[in-house]
């Protein structure tokens, strides 16, 4: 198993390399740059802008810039944000926990809801319950995240008010109320709406998937055998079917990671959540290359790591799978 893990890790290095080159070319060969907004300012002379671009090394040939960037990356230095003049690694470190919190809690909520739903609807396929649940989850999957987010704000922050205090039910954004940074309950309260917006789609996806994967498993021969042996229906259902149906779910989760960040980006923007998605979005608008490259490389690495972990978990969960 360890050899497998190591082999996988080694295989990812060329992938990361290719990704970095492609990204670098894309991001840096686009015209304009971080100082473009400055050009519009009537107070700034063009000569000043040219001088600064020169100083930042933005005029060097691309391969040179890439080499420099790569060299720095190996030293663990992701460079400095051109706009904020802060180390990229510092900025990313600030934001990762926030995104992980948002995505993690959403994930948890999703699983807590999707797994029971998936199991129940697999128990009685094509029943009214199944159809209702399918419909509700399809609704969740079809609503665009940003539309939902806006809707949630309008409903829970503007229209409906808490009958006890007259204040809105949920906050409109940010991670904490001023003065309560780091307070767990306050953060949870601020997470409520963003998590709802984010998990609606996933609940649909995962519960459907679990349902169909359980249906597949329930038809397998060995289940019939277990039933014939007289085990209680419930036991059969939960223990055997679930165990086997969970496996594809693990793979699905791993494959789904890139879209995690997509949804998170929209949610972070609408709810002013200071996460990685927001960081990327602000950097994209401002053409802040070091930040863009840093965020994408870190995210890609995270995805790869999660994929490997998922594969290993799959192998561990399913004794039939052997890795050399």
């Amino acid at each position: 198993m360890t050899t497998y893990a190591i082999r996988r890790v080694l295989q990812t290095i060329p992938i990361l390399f290719i990704i970095s080159v492609l990204l670098f070319i894309m991001v840096r060969s686009a015209p304009g740059g971080p100082l473009t907004a400055a050009r519009r300012n009537p107070n700034i002379s063009k000569e000043q802008i040219e001088a600064i671009e020169e100083k930042l090394g933005l005029n060097d040939p691309l391969p040179v810039q890439y080499g420099r960037w790569l060299g720095d990356m190996f030293k663990g230095d992701m460079g400095e944000s051109i706009k904020f003049r802060r180390p990229v690694s510092e900025m990313i470190n600030e934001r990762i926990p926030n995104t992980l919190l948002l995505v993690g809690v959403s994930f948890l909520v999703t699983l807590l809801i999707a797994i029971p739903i998936g199991i129940w609807s697999a128990r009685k396929p094509y029943s009214p319950f199944d159809y209702t649940v399918t419909t509700v989850t399809f609704i969740g999957q079809s609503i665009p995240v940003y539309w939902l987010g806006l809707g949630l704000i309008v409903i829970f922050y503007v229209t409906l008010k808490n009958p006890f205090s007259g204040e809105p039910f949920f906050p409109v954004g940010g991670m904490n109320t001023r003065g309560k940074e780091g307070e767990f309950l306050d953060t949870l309260w601020h997470l409520a709406l963003p998590v709802t917006a984010l998990s609606m789609g996933w609940v649909a996806w995962y519960s459907r998937f679990l349902r169909s994967s359980m249906l597949d498993v329930l038809h397998e021969d060995y289940i019939r055998t277990a039933r014939a042996k007289g085990m209680k229906e419930q036991m059969v259902h939960y223990k055997h079917a679930l165990q086997n149906a969970i496996l594809p779910l693990v793979t699905l989760v791993a494959l789904d990671l890139p879209s995690l960040f997509a949804g998170a980006l929209f949610v972070e923007t609408i709810f002013s959540w200071p996460g990685m998605g927001r960081l990327f979005w602000d950097a994209a608008k401002g053409r802040d290359y070091p930040v863009l490259l840093g965020v994408v490389m870190i995210t890609a690495t995270l995805i790869i790591v999660c994929n490997i972990l998922a594969d290993l978990a799959y192998g561990w969960l399913d004794p039939r799978v052997k890795y050399e």
């Binding site: 399809f138 806006l150 309008v154 960040f261 890609a300 995805i303």
Partner: protein, 300 residues
């Protein structure tokens, strides 16, 4: 389906059986009807009495009424017409990016699954690489990057969006098709054909591929639903189809400033995306149920 039509009688019945099974799934039937309405509405958008760009600034922010079914926006433009034209963009992008994505995916998956060996390794490594891209980030970068190039064909932002969505979604059909090929190529009919001297191409196209149609169609519906959501998301962020072409996403984006003044401008585009994607999802669900028991067995 033409291969099936030319095939022996029992396979002809399969197409009919699949269709029957599909419509047994009631909601899927309704979904097809809904989608048909949407497509027709988009195609015949120009029949609307209002043009999506005609401005009547003095008539702005009208609530939905009998003259303007969806009300008017900040320039007095008829929102209903804009939604219809927006539907054209969404459906076009959804359809074509899905075609492109599936075409690419089938190509890669078929070659990979059929030949195996180093072909498979290389193609799968490339697929893996694409799979590890944080999609939304790359989409934004690509959208921004390609639009900044001043080549004339890139000026059509719809084409750009179709291409970049396809470029980042072909991996799933590829994996699917590869998996199917891995299973199917071991079947007896393949060995038999090889023994009879069939070329690889003939084998792939005429014999194995038809059996994949079911899962590919299902996957296609999922892709299309996802493409529509992605396109509108990109337009919403400002990196998708450029104004003045109305698209559901960009109408939503400009509606953000008027959420409290004219909520209908924001409501309808989101609602349309929702209905369209719902319909497509149900169709996919129906297709999955319709094809499920038949795919592997018929060719035995």
């Amino acid at each position: 389906m033409s291969e099936l039509a030319a095939a022996p009688p029992h396979e002809q019945n399969m197409a009919w059986l699949i269709t029957r099974r599909f419509f047994k799934h009631k909601l899927a039937g309704i979904a097809i009807a809904v989608l048909a309405v949407l497509v027709l509405a988009a195609v015949f958008a120009n029949l609307s009495p209002y043009s999506p760009t005609d401005q009547e600034p003095t008539n702005s922010f009208e609530k939905p009424n009998s003259t303007h079914w969806f009300g008017t926006d900040e320039l007095g433009r008829d929102v209903f017409s804009r939604i219809l034209y927006g539907g054209r963009v969404s459906l076009t992008v959804g359809l074509f990016s899905t075609f492109l994505s599936i075409a690419l995916g089938v190509l890669v998956g078929a070659l990979s699954g059929y030949f195996g060996g180093w072909v498979d390794s290389v193609l799968m490594r490339i697929t893996d690489a694409f799979l590890t891209f944080p999609t939304i980030f790359v989409l934004i970068l690509l959208g921004a990057f390609l639009r900044e190039q001043q080549a004339p064909w890139l000026k059509n932002s719809i084409v750009v969006v179709i291409v970049i969505i396809a470029a980042l979604s072909w991996m799933w059909p590829a994996r699917l098709v590869r998996g199917l090929f891995l299973v199917l190529r071991e079947k007896e009919f393949v060995t038999a054909s090889r023994a009879l001297g069939g070329s690889h191409t003939r084998l792939i196209i005429q014999h194995i591929l038809p059996n994949c149609i079911g899962p590919i169609l299902v996957s296609g519906t999922l892709q299309m639903a996802s493409a529509i959501i992605t396109e509108s998301g990109l337009s919403y962020l400002g990196f998708g189809v450029q104004p003045p072409t109305p698209t559901w996403g960009s109408i939503l984006a400009t509606a953000q400033n008027q959420v409290f003044r004219a909520p209908w401008i924001g409501f309808f585009p989101g609602f349309m995306i929702f209905i369209t994607v719902m319909a497509i999802n149900y169709i996919g669900d129906g297709l999955r149920d319709a094809f499920d028991p038949y795919v592997i067995h018929t060719s035995d």
